[in-house]
Symmetry: C2
Subunit: 190 residues, 2 copies
C-alpha cells in the first residue's frame, strides 16, 4: 500500500475480532515506529505501556470513554473488544510540555497497525485517575493517549461533510459513516 | 516502501535543494493526507496555508526558530532553504482545544512527502505574532505548527542514545547524527 492507501484505510474502528490476537512482538514493532518518529527538540519524552493480556485489556477497556455522537452506547460488547492496547505516557522527568508528540507517535503506530492488517482507534478521553490507580502508574508519567488495536469487524466509509456537519453515524446495515470536510474548505486562500 | 522504511527514511532535514520545486498540487496532496487522518471527535478543526512562492517562503523562513542544540546557526543559507511550507492552523471557531491533532496531521504529511521524494521538518517554535502580522492571518486561527519541505541535501543518521544523551550533532563530513532512545528504555515494564 502506498501512503495514500494506508492513510485512507486507517479508519477509527469501534468493533474488533476480539479473539484474533495481537502479539507482544507486533506491539513492540509499532512502538518502534513511534520511536523513529520525530519529537520536538528530539527530546523523546514518550513512554509506552503494552497490553494484550485479557485481564489488563479489560482494565483498560473499563477506563475508556467510547462515544461522542452515538448516544447511549457504552462501547463494544464482549467478543467485539480490542485485542490489545498501547498506552502513550509523557515522562515528566524529561519535559512537562509534550506538545503534539503523542499525535505524531500515534499516527505512525496506527499506520503500522493498518499495514499489519489491524485497525485501531485513539482515545484522548480516559478515566485517567482510575486507570492510574488500577495499573499503578507512577505520578511521574502523564497519561496522554491510548490506542486500541485489533482486527476490525465493521465497515467505515468516508463521506463529504456538507455545511460543516461532521457528526458520524451508523446505518441500518451497521456501516459507520464519517463525514470529512472537503479539501477546499480546509486550505485557506490567504 | 513499507511503513517501517517510510518512517525510518522520514528524518528532520535542515538543508534542502531550494531550486527543486514542490508544486501546489503536491502540497494539496499532502493536505489531503492530513484531511483523511483522525482528529479528536472527528471535529477536523485544522486549517492549512500553503506556500511554494519565493517571496512567501522567505517571509515564513524569517519567522522560524531553527536550532536547539547546534549553537550559533541561524538556519540554512540561501540556496539550501525549503522549497515550500505547509502551515497548520487551529480554527478556534470549531474548538479551542486542538489536542494532538496537528501532530497526527503533520506525521501523515511528512510520510507522504517522504514517499514523494521530499523531506521536511516540523517547527513548533515560530515567531507567531510576527508571522501573523506579515501574512495577515486572522486572530481566529491559532498558528500550531509549520512544516518545511524540499528535496533534502544532507545525510541524517540514526544512532543509539547512550545514557539518555539525545543531543544531535554534525561530524566533519556534515553528516547529521540523531540519537534515539532504545526500545527497551521507552517501553515500561509495568
Amino acid at each position: 500500500m502506498n501512503i495514500f492507501e494506508l492513510v485512507t484505510k486507517n479508519r477509527s474502528y469501534r468493533r474488533f475480532q476480539q479473539s484474533e490476537p495481537i502479539s507482544t512482538q507486533q506491539l513492540r514493532g509499532l512502538v518502534d515506529l513511534a520511536r523513529l518518529s520525530p519529537s520536538a527538540g528530539n527530546l523523546q519524552p514518550l513512554k509506552f505501556i503494552l497490553s494484550n493480556d485479557p485481564a489488563r485489556n479489560e482494565t483498560i477497556f473499563s477506563c475508556l470513554e467510547w462515544e461522542s455522537y452515538i448516544k447511549d452506547w457504552p462501547g463494544p460488547a464482549e467478543g467485539k473488544r480490542p485485542a490489545g492496547y498501547i498506552m502513550i505516557l509523557g515522562d515528566t522527568s524529561i519535559t512537562k510540555d509534550f506538545g503534539c508528540n503523542h499525535g505524531i507517535a500515534a499516527q505512525s503506530m496506527l499506520l503500522g497497525a493498518t499495514e499489519m492488517g489491524f485497525g485501531g482507534r485513539m482515545f484522548p478521553n480516559i478515566q485517567r485517575d482510575r486507570l492510574r490507580a488500577l495499573l499503578k502508574i507512577p505520578e511521574r508519567f502523564e497519561i496522554l493517549l491510548i490506542i486500541a488495536l485489533g482486527v476490525p469487524r465493521e465497515r467505515v466509509v468516508i463521506t463529504d461533510a456538507k455545511d460543516g456537519k461532521i457528526n458520524y453515524w451508523r446505518d441500518v446495515n451497521k456501516v459507520h459513516y464519517v463525514p470529512k470536510r472537503p479539501l477546499d474548505e480546509i486550505i485557506l486562500d490567504l
